[in-house]
Symmetry: C2
Subunit: 231 residues, 2 copies
């Protein structure tokens, strides 16, 4: 049984990517980063999902990206409401967190190396890519090159079977296709959290870009979204 | 005045690299990672050095790499004594910390982006490279490619002047040459900490690989090492 690290935020995408990793016969090592995000309630979702998936280990590592600032998800900027970025590649919204996926993948690389896992799963998609540079295939390809130069594991295993690979099974899928895939794999989306700006009790706002994309996708599939939304 | 992020551990190399960054006319933003290293006393050295250099900001970010394990610097393995790795590229010592420089550079990238700095200085050297894969030029080159694909800064500034560059001014220098360079720049090495396995009061052991390389270099230069050693 091959081992895989899955970056698990507790959101819809990473949960689906983790389900794909499991369906492909991997033993899962889940990594969640507590980056002092505004939507900290997603950490609880990550714990629920990890338990449901039966991962061998779930590591939650605190890395306070609020120290850097520069994002509405970690700072004082306001999360945009009732708007979805349309201009792919031209507009980077303020929900972009500087270097976030680079940091997350670096931490996943450390866990992969110490867990003897040769695959890292990440739930990014370029289809619904809302202007985030670190959700593109060329970014992941560059990280894969780096990972194999950076580590003992990469240097000592030059054969392709043991090289570290970055798996992004949702890269070419729209949110609707992602949910369809997850449903086919038995994912329980009631466990997940998506909202960037939840209420104090953790209810999704239904108006941030993240909520809007989720609601639209469930509506297109004609499936009720199983999570609760506040007013 | 250009801005630069300097990765500052408090050791001899990163202190020299920071002095080079300053001498090249940059405004400095120092980043120190508290990774729960065995030699935590180096964090105090980083604070002393940052103050002496007059950096604009010194950020110490906790990222507990002990959670991952796999290294004598963060786990239960024993730091080797009275031995220096000779077989470059063949032997990776247990003081290697999985993915450490990848994680450090990723965090520096976040600080660079939010500080509007286009340079990141890191004090690695391939000459005294003791088998660490993440101290080689090909690793830094891969990170530079990644950095410009990963960030808003990289994507929005395709002209060379504003691209993010990774500066490793010590890459081709031996430890002896590094100290000679530092002395010429006025570095006060009494502020630095090098030992991997210090005493409870922070005194250097004089026997770990890191101490041995430092002592040998000062001896070659005929300069007394200004720090105190235990026993």
């Amino acid at each position: 049984m091959q081992r895989a690290v899955v970056l698990l935020s507790g959101g819809l995408d990473s949960t689906t990517a983790a389900a794909v990793a499991k369906s492909e016969g991997n033993e899962l090592f889940a990594l969640t980063v507590d980056y002092n995000q505004r939507h900290r309630v997603e950490l609880l979702a990550a714990c629920r999902v990890a338990a449901r998936l039966g991962v061998s280990r779930h590591l939650v590592i605190p890395v306070d990206l609020r120290l850097f600032g520069g994002s509405s998800l970690t700072g004082d900027l306001t999360v945009p409401k009732d708007t979805v970025a349309e201009n792919i590649g031209l507009h980077i919204p303020n929900t972009y967190v500087p270097a976030r996926n680079t940091i997350f993948l670096s931490l996943a690389l450390a866990l992969a190396e110490t867990s003897n896992a040769s695959k890292i799963y990440i739930g990014v998609s370029q289809v619904d890519y809302s202007g985030y540079p670190d959700c593109r295939p060329e970014f992941l390809s560059a990280f894969s090159t780096l990972a194999n130069l950076a580590t003992k594991m990469g240097v000592e295993n030059s054969d392709s079977q043991h090289r570290i690979s970055i798996e992004a099974p949702l890269m070419m899928l729209s949110k609707t296709e992602t949910i369809r895939l997850g449903v086919s794999l038995g994912v329980d989306y009631s466990l997940t959290h998506t909202c960037y700006d939840p209420s104090a009790t953790g209810l999704a706002c239904g108006h941030c870009e993240s909520c809007l994309l989720r609601l639209k996708a469930f509506a297109e599939l004609g499936i009720p979204d199983p999570i609760q939304y506040g007013s």
